[in-house]
């Protein structure tokens, strides 16, 4: 039991304990601040590349968080703010790649491959498996039993 608790503790300790947003970055209006946090959770930190700018301690992440809050206070919409960053950094700054012509392979490729593969597998298996089971005759049934059981062996066949 103790080991389980210890393991759970270690597992939880590895999760980020706090967002990287510091109190002096936060906007005074809680609704706007919530909007900012929401936006930045979808933006990638380009330095670390696997974290959102909400989680990252990198200076660039801090700068972009500041920029996001500034633009929110200026009255820009979420779309405008994200558009501003995407036009400068490209789609990679979005943690969720957009679904468009260039990325459909990313989004649908695995599914398509799965369907293709399953289809092929089914077609292949259907061709191979015999349509009717061969029934064993009485004599063959007995012979089978003999071969498989101790009885048969004992009788020395």
């Amino acid at each position: 039991m103790r080991w389980l608790l210890l393991a759970l503790l270690v597992a939880f300790a590895t999760l980020p304990a706090h967002a990287a947003v510091s109190p002096d970055e936060m906007l005074p209006d809680p609704q706007l601040e919530a909007r900012a946090r929401d936006l930045e959770k979808g933006l990638r930190c380009l330095v670390c590349q696997n974290q959102s700018i909400d989680d990252s301690d990198a200076p660039l992440a801090h700068d972009i968080r500041t920029l996001v809050r500034q633009q929110i206070e200026e009255g820009r919409t979420n779309q405008e703010i994200v558009g501003y960053l995407v036009s400068r950094y490209g789609d990679f700054i979005l943690l969720k790649p957009p679904v468009n012509g260039a990325t459909w392979v990313l989004w649908f490729g695995p599914l398509v491959l799965l369907l293709l593969g399953s289809g092929l597998l089914i077609a292949f298996v259907r061709r191979r498996s015999p349509d009717a089971e061969t029934e064993l005759s009485e004599a063959e049934q007995e012979r089978l039993v003999e071969l498989l059981t101790d009885e048969g062996r004992e009788q020395g066949r």
Binding site: L46, D63, A132
Partner: protein, 196 residues
């Protein structure tokens, strides 16, 4: 022994013609080969070097203050265009920037290219010290203390450099320091073409 064998072939389902079955076997191999080629090409790419969406776009607008003691008036977007230029984002605290300093010198002195510098988040005194130590190849230097201009250029690390053509459009982005092989393979040909 048993006559099961004969019974089997008599009742089994008709199988597809041999050539068609062979073709089916090929399909997974072909898909695999296709995927392998795709992935192999992918492995040669460096995913951490982002392509710039600013290529073939006009350079962003900016107006940066000068380094105190230098007689340029800082560096702004008005200084771009007219001739081919390289805009180099650097910092004294950046180790790879030191690596590329000789390349920048080559560009400026040997090739006669105008190299404009933007000092990223660097106190002026440190920039001055760096130039004194490693040389000053820059025509103009702008100080980007907030890093906001860097964001406008899509910069996410230093050093990063941009080749800007005579019309003031960004033509090429170098992520990381210039390396000798980049130089001869990519940079010089591009510059030659632009100066054409």
């Amino acid at each position: 022994m048993s006559s099961a064998k004969a019974a089997d072939t008599a009742t089994s389902a008709p199988t597809a013609p041999r050539s068609r079955r062979r073709l089916l076997f090929l399909i997974p191999a072909v898909v695999f080969a296709g995927a392998a080629v795709f992935l192999a090409i992918g492995l040669t790419q460096d995913p951490s070097r982002l392509p710039s969406p600013l290529i073939d776009q006009p350079a962003p607008t900016f107006d940066l203050p000068p380094l105190p003691g230098r007689d340029d008036h800082g560096f702004s977007s008005k200084d771009l265009g007219g001739k081919v230029m390289i805009v180099n984002f650097f910092a004294s605290w950046c180790v790879p920037c030191r690596l590329e300093a000789p390349m920048i010198q080559r560009l400026a002195k040997e090739q006669g290219i105008t190299v404009q510098g933007i000092a990223y988040k660097d106190p002026p005194a440190n920039v001055r010290a760096w130039l004194d130590e490693l040389g000053d190849p820059f025509t103009r230097i702008g100080l980007d203390s907030s890093g906001r201009t860097a964001i406008d250029w899509g910069v996410y690390g230093v050093p990063e450099s941009f080749i800007v053509d005579k019309r003031g459009r960004i033509v090429y982005k170098q992520v990381g320091p210039f390396l000798p092989q980049d130089f001869d393979d990519k940079i010089l040909p591009i510059l030659a073409k632009l100066r054409g």
